[in-house]
């Protein structure tokens, strides 16, 4: 398989997906879309009860459980937790996440009167922090820019967006590109190594400014590929 073409991705239809922090808007939105695409989806939360509520609201095949149970069961795990508890939550799940593909989509941002801005991260980025905390996992960065509003909107059939997929493990980034492509309209595009994740996470602050100025849910598309 050549993957030098963004439409050329592995078959990931049988992959089960866990979403840590799946009760937040981003997590719920991704759960909804992957459920619609036919995946087994497990929503994780610190509270099993809240996870089950969020899963029930989405319906279909989406189930809810505690973060640790989700991390242990799912084939691929998406980290959609708030930046605040990022390090400690991942540290507590190191054993369950060992050997798995872990997709970090967390954007470390601050907000003030002038809008959003990137927070400094000791390791360089949330994704690099995940890789440092989870040395036995295959950490990939992706899904930073997808709008939770669009993911959750039942009127939106397709999302006009390229998901940038970053990582140092070629097979893992190919699988995640495949997962991105399971959302109608979305293309998963390789976006560089993990050391270049910071700017992709931080660019979410710019998208927030753009959305405010143009009253939009802006996404990125890459031209010429």
């Amino acid at each position: 398989m050549s993957t030098d073409n963004p439409t050329d991705v592995p078959d990931v239809s049988g992959v089960s997906i866990g979403i840590l922090g799946g009760t937040g808007d981003q997590g719920k939105g991704l759960a909804r879309r992957f459920g619609l695409a036919g995946h087994t989806v497990l929503i994780g939360s610190r509270s099993a009860g809240r996870a089950q509520e969020a899963a029930a609201a989405l319906g279909g095949t989406v189930r809810g459980a505690e973060n640790a149970a989700v991390a242990a069961e799912a084939d691929v795990v998406i980290v959609a937790i708030p930046w605040d508890g990022h390090r400690s939550t991942l540290e507590s799940l190191r054993a369950e996440l060992a050997g798995k593909i872990v997709i970090d989509c967390v954007n470390p941002l601050g907000f003030d009167k002038q809008g959003a801005y990137a927070l400094p991260v000791e390791e360089g980025s949330a994704a690099q922090q995940a890789a440092a905390v989870l040395p036995d996992s295959r950490v990939v960065a992706a899904f930073h820019h997808v709008s939770a509003v669009l993911l959750l909107d039942p009127e939106v059939a397709e999302i006009d967006l390229d998901v940038l997929v970053l990582g140092d493990d070629r097979e893992a980034t190919d699988i995640v590109r495949g997962l991105a492509g399971r959302i109608p309209g979305v293309r998963g595009v390789y976006g560089g190594r993990l050391r270049n994740a910071h700017q992709v996470e931080a660019l979410t602050a710019n998208l927030i400014s753009i959305n405010r100025r143009y009253k939009a849910h802006a996404g990125l598309r890459l031209t010429d590929i």
Copy 2:
């Protein structure tokens, strides 16, 4: 004028454009496109002779001169110099650039065997360094992602790209959005305040990785605006 629509920009057809570091590929490429659009274009270099050679090679109305003369004469000045001499060159032109719109398109990048990566910048970004060094200028960040190869290619009539325009001075960013739109195919889109310039500069490293993977000259488009 409402500028909450990216196609709604001021008339900038009479604006003269100076390009510091205009003998580099990025500078020459921008000079070529602005010359084709009918602007008076002044290429600047440390050496007047090299600036004149570069201008002669482009032909048309493009002229060459020393950086200081270009900074003094042009209405709007684009900074396309290497990151290495960024601070010292701007410091030496503070008087000439006072009161002017200064467009910084410099990407502070390092390169090694794994490709490109973002360099740390004390002020946060090249654009913020320019603003710190030039307190009397109106600093705007733009044109980071436009491919010099495409700008210089006579076979390329249109460039499929949104130029992100960042700054804290609304009138200045509107004028620069107008200038971006003078390149056929290009749209100038407001991209946030100057404090969010770092990630736009650094994203050039990701585009370099993307270009290498997909054998492309990738550009960004924003969807839904």
